[in-house]
Amino acid sequence: MEWLLFVPLAALALGTAAFVILLRNPIYCALALVGTFFALSGLYLLLQAEFVAVVQVIIYAGAIMVLFLFVIMLLDVGHEPPPWLRRDRPRLLLGLGLVALLVLELAVAIGSWIAPGIRGPYTSDYVNAVGNTQLIGRLLFTEFLIPFEITSIILLIAIVGAMVLARRQ
């Protein structure tokens, strides 16, 4: 009964995502986003992607959200007026119109359902036999070795860049 797990997790993801963009206090938004990350992690487990599910909790819910919370507390961010009280309403409506267009486009793309692609060798049974994490590790250090190494350079540049930007002059 996958649906029994999918429906609550999907509802949790959508509900907390809505809270992220609707709540006024940034701290509550951040906590709602943690909820979205956990719901998505559950969905990854449902999709038999155990490694991604655990990494999702460690990196997103752990590292990234802690960074967000620290910055929110550091900056003493005030409340913003709700969007329906803003003066630039025409621009807001234009933006929402474009969002509606995007949603329409996504609906058409999902609804038309063209070629589902070529099936790869990693069937559910094979992944279960070898192990999801082992397979990802093996691929990362063989087929995807160069992107993997480049990622480390990106992270190094990000660390140095963040230090330079956030430093007091």
């Binding site: 449902l46 999709l47 999902i110």
Partner: protein
Amino acid sequence: MRGAGCGVRGAMTGTVPLSAYLILSAALFAIGVIGVVIRRNALIIFMAIELMLNAVNLTFVAFSKFLGSMDGQIIVFFVMAVAAAEVALGLAIIIALYRNKESVNVDDINLLKG
């Protein structure tokens, strides 16, 4: 919906079809875009961007499962690494902006506006 995405309603008793994941992912992405459009707080715009990245990650993992390929999960790994770098830099920029402007409202940040 045809093919592997065979009707959501008809499959209510069996496994969850790919289309259900794609619809959920599209909805999450749309919520993220709406957040970027309606909010003026740079931090919350950032959170909405994270939401969009996560929606795309869900698509990758779903396709990875339904197509029997590991590539999607590897890409998600890279997306997470880049997202971590992006958040570190973005928050550093927001802190630098706050030092100069005493505000994180994107309407106040208009130095480049002619």
